[in-house]
Amino acid sequence: MISASLAGAQTESPPRDPSEAQMLTVNAAIGAVTAAAWRFVTHKPLLPGAARGAVSGLAAYGGRRMIATSGKPLHWWIGRELSALASSEVMNAARSRPVLERAVIPLGPVRIHVDRSKGLKIVPRIDAVSVVAALVVGLSDDNTFALDESLASGTLAFLAPETSTQVGGNVGAVITISQLAPDGPYYPLESKRRVMAHELVHTAQYDFVFAAWSDPVQELITARSPVVAKVTKYLDFNLTLPFQIGANTMLDYSERPWEMEARALAKHTR
C-alpha cells in the first residue's frame, strides 16, 4: 500500500505539464461525468446533474489551485476546505439535493459529515485509511511527526529522511516531506512549501474521490446493513483505495493525470 502510493511522489521523471485550460476542462468533465454516472445509476435526468457537477468540478479545482499558488498555511486550509465542499457538491448534484445540503469537511484524519436535510446533523468520522497510513508512515524508519507542518496544512504530516529520489509523498492523505527541503527558493532544490503544496493537492484529490465515490458507496452499504451502519457510525473507509493503488501501479509517474495536475499547480507556489 505504502510503496505503491508513495510512488506518486514528485521527484521521479518530471511529467509534461498540462495547460490551465486543459486542467479546467478535465476537472469540469470529471465533475460532470461523476454526477451523471450517479444519476444514471439512480435513473435521474443526466443533463441538469452533469451541468451542476461540471461547475462543482471547477470549484474543486479552484480550491486545489488556491492550495498550490499561495504557499501559505491559511490558504492551504481554505483551499482544502473549498475543494472538499465543492467535491461534496458534486454528490449533491448527483442526488438532486439542494446546494450544499450535505457536505464532508476534512480536518486532518477526521471528516465532519454535515447533513442539513433534516435539521442540522453533524457527525465526525475518522478516516480509517488515513489512520492506518499515519501509523505505517509514523513507524517507518526515522520518520518523525511534524506538528507545525500538520497544523499548517490541516493534514497529518511527517518529516522523512531524504532518499535522493523522493522529496515528498502522500498516502491516504498523510503527507511526508523531506527533512532536507529548504523553506525558501534555492534552485534547483524543491522548496519545502512547493513540496507541501504538491502533496496537499493530492490530499484534495483524495478528498474528491472520497466524497464523490467512497462515501456514497459506504452510504449504500450501510443503508442495506444495520450492523455495518452501527460499526461504521464514526468510521470512514476509503473503499476506492484499491483502485487508486491499481492506477498508480499501472501508470508510470509521468503518465498519471493526478501527478500532472499536482506538478503543474505546484509550479505556481510562491
Binding site: 498555511p73 491559511l74 492551504w76 486550509w77 481554505i78 476546505e81 442540522l120 507545525d148 507542518e149 500538520s150 497544523l151 499548517a152 496544512s153 490541516g154 518529516l159 531524504e162 532518499t163 535522493s164 529520489t165 527533512q179 532536507l180 529548504p182 523553506d183 525558501g184 534555492y186 534552485y187 534547483p188 532544490l189 519545502k192 512549501r193
Partner: protein, 163 residues
Amino acid sequence: MRSIRVRHLVSVLGLISSTGCLDVIEPTPVSSSVEIVAAKTSGFELTATNFISASFQITNTGTRALYVDTKYRRLEKLVNQRWELVDEQSPTSLAFSSSLPPNRRIVASYSLVHDRNGRSGSPLLEHVRGLYRLRFRIALIATGTELLPEEESYSQPFAVDCC
C-alpha cells in the same frame, strides 16, 4: 444559532492555521567585511562513494587586508531548517597563506569524498542533495592571530543537486 457555529468554526480554523507556522531557515550571518558566495557546485553519488565539490568567490568588502586559511573548512547542511555539522577540518595556525587585499576577490575550492561503506563520516552525506553552507577561517593578521568572528566567515547557502 447557525451563524454562531459557523463563526466558531472559522475562528478555530484561523487559530489552528495561524499557530501552524512553518519553521523558517536558521539565518546565515552576513559579514560586513567579506562576501563569500558559491560560484560552482557539483555532487555525485556512486555505488561506494559520494562526492561534493564547490568553488567560492571570496570578496573583501572591508578596508583591511584579510588572510584566508587555506586548510580549514567547516561544512554544514540544512536539516529540518537547522544547520547541522557535516564535516570540519582541524584548524592549524600556519595555514593563512591566501592574502586578500580590500576590494579584491579570490577563488577557494572545497571538495569532500564520503565513503558510503566506511564507518566514519556524517550520515548526512548518505545523500548528497541538499542545502549547505561553508565556514572559512579568516584573519586580519597573516599569522592568523586576529581572527574574524565565526559568524563573519560563512558562505551564503548553496544548493547541491544530485541524482
